[in-house]
């Protein structure tokens, strides 16, 4: 479904702020697979998702989505195949538009937009049904401005919007990180429910080890712009939180080792 081939991305190349965020990343996702991505801060998780979504074009490599080479496609064009939920609850909705209008926009993701009414009776009925399933009481507030809702409510709606039309690929980037624990649980529950129900091919970034072991059928650990570990099938199912913490510890030690080696070299030669 998704194939990322030898993708590289360097920010601010040739300057002191140069960051090699993706270093020849290879990743292939089967249709219907639910992949969790973990990794330390700055390891390139968001950059990978952004590269797939087309937020920027990559320096080299190729990205194939549903058999099509989308490497040169602008973000809005890829969006026809991709549903997205961002970390920031403010990013996924238009605050001054009503709940219904936001959903109506999502109901035409990737389709043309002309001079037909954005809202009609049929769509409204559908909205009420779907929004009711959130159990947040929002079905009676469809004409309220989204800006008046809480982060958790907005994130739940963004999730509905991203999956209103079944996407070929769903991208979730720490989409519960900004929420309080209860809302985060709610949104995570909703996410896995939708993903399993619609068999959505999913890439989900998280810092929660609990989520990482409980969810998904494959787990990828990134470090310094590379994929360091890739657990699949039985191996993924056997993973426990402690195993993951152990892997992080290994990474930390290796980094320390790198640094002390660099320090030693500096002392010897500089």
């Amino acid at each position: 479904m998704l194939s990322v081939q030898q993708v590289r991305k360097t920010f601010n190349p040739g300057t002191p702020n140069e960051v090699r965020s993706l270093q020849a990343v290879d990743l292939t996702l089967e249709e219907g697979s639910f992949v969790i991505i973990i990794g330390t801060n700055g390891s390139g998780k968001s950059t990978l998702l952004n590269a797939v979504a087309g937020t920027f074009l990559v320096d080299s490599g190729a990205i194939l989505l549903a058999g099509r080479d989308v490497t040169a496609w602008p973000e809005y064009r890829r969006a026809g195949m991709i549903g997205r939920v961002f970390q920031n609850p403010f990013s996924g909705t238009a605050p001054n538009l009503s709940i219904a209008e936001n959903l109506a926009l999502a109901a035409r993701r990737g389709l043309g937009r002309g001079l037909t009414w954005a809202l009609n009776k049929k769509l409204r009925t559908e909205m009420r049904e779907t929004v009711r399933s959130l159990g947040m009481g929002l079905e009676d507030r469809l004409d309220n401005i989204i800006g008046s809702l809480s982060g958790g409510q907005r994130q739940a709606l963004t999730l509905l919007m991203a999956t209103w039309l079944k996407p070929k690929l769903l991208l979730l980037d720490e989409h519960t990180a900004a929420l309080d624990p209860k809302s985060a649980d709610q949104v995570i529950h909703l996410s896995s429910q939708i993903i399993l129900r619609d068999h959505l091919t999913t890439l989900m970034v998280t810092h929660s080890m609990q989520q990482a072991v409980n969810l998904g059928d494959r787990l990828i650990m990134m470090h310094r712009g590379r994929i360091l570990h890739d657990f699949q099938g039985a191996e993924k199912r056997r993973l426990r939180v402690n195993d993951l913490l152990g892997r992080f510890e290994e990474v930390r030690r290796a980094d320390l080792l790198d640094e002390s080696a660099a320090e030693m070299l500096r002392r010897m030669y500089v």
């Binding site: 602008p74 997205r84 961002f86 001079l115 009414w117």
Partner: protein, 310 residues
């Protein structure tokens, strides 16, 4: 009394400008100074065609189209060539100055003898009012022509407002409103925010061009200088309108812009009547917009400060 009617008429005509500014400034948060060039462009195109005997409807439509193109040009400079929004507008506005002179062939075209939409409106009014030269409105004797033209400008503002209200509730219009609100989300939902900005600025300046066309036909001339200060006038109308309606909902915003424009013209007429030097008008308008722009921030600050003290 005819002073009042005149102010109302200009208020309704310039409410088309206010609606255009509402789109660029409030929907896209884009301070689009192209308006100062495109209002003149609309006037110039219409006047140049009218003196050649072109049908006023065609001449007015041409003004809308030319404003549309001017706005699209600013949008393309901004989105395709990544030029700062204000600068894109300044570039187009400056080019329009030369273009307008070319269109007109000189710096001023009088429309005294030309048939215009306003003369049509006067004819229509004469038919409706039974041919009288004067009519009495609430006890006042007013010229039938003045009333007809006022009615015409009111209908024009009403129609345009309704069309916009309808448009902004379609798929395309909703996507356009969302673009100004959250462009990241709009892209993630498969809409090119760049295209929306180009189209939105085009629509905005199309309206401004229409305002210019009607203004020229109303005042009986087009002048290459007539656009100066118009953006700030439009902003003042939008801000007054928002204060009047108080709600940030689509229908209210549109109605507010029209009402704001009319109220603003009335205030200007009264101030001039009281002896305000016309030369000071732009300075005072700019000062007014300045205060209106910083006032909400100041009030917030004072509120949080007093809340912190409490």
């Amino acid at each position: 009394m005819s002073l009042l009617i005149g102010a109302l008429t200009i208020g309704f005509i310039l409410s088309l400008l206010a609606l255009g500014v509402l789109i660029s400034f409030r929907i896209f948060s884009f301070p689009d100074i192209t308006a100062e060039g495109s209002i003149t462009l609309g006037a110039a195109v219409t006047a140049a065609m009218l003196v050649k005997g072109v049908n006023p409807l065609v001449a007015t439509a041409a003004a809308v189209l030319s404003g549309f193109l001017a706005g699209a040009a600013t949008g393309v400079l901004h989105t395709r060539f990544k030029i700062n929004g204000l600068l894109s507008g300044i570039l187009v506005m400056t080019s329009l100055y030369s273009i307008n002179l070319h269109v007109m062939g000189r710096s001023n075209i009088p429309l005294m003898s030309a048939r215009t939409l306003v003369t049509y409106a006067e004819h229509l009014g004469r038919l409706l009012l039974g041919g009288a030269d004067n009519v009495s409105v609430a006890g006042w004797e007013v010229g039938a022509r003045d009333v007809s033209v006022l009615g015409f400008s009111f209908v024009a503002a009403l129609l345009v407002g309704l069309v916009l209200f309808t448009f902004f509730r379609t798929d395309l219009g909703t996507a356009m409103r969302a673009t100004g609100d959250n462009s990241q989300m709009v892209r993630a939902l498969g809409v090119s925010d760049a295209d929306m900005i180009v189209f939105g600025l085009a629509v905005s300046n199309g309206l401004v061009g229409l305002a210019g066309a009607l203004l020229a036909q109303y005042q009986g001339f087009a002048d290459v200088q007539m656009g100066i200060g118009m953006l700030v006038w439009g902003l003042a109308s939008v801000i007054i309108g928002e204060a009047l309606v108080g709600v940030r909902q689509l229908g209210y915003l549109l109605a507010g812009a029209v009402m704001g424009s009319v109220l603003f013209r009335l205030m200007v007429a009264i101030a001039l009547r009281w002896g305000l030097d016309p030369n000071d008008l732009k300075l005072i308008t700019a000062a007014f917009v300045f205060v209106a722009l910083i006032l909400p921030g100041l009030v917030d600050k004072m509120r949080t400060r007093s809340a912190a003290h409490a």
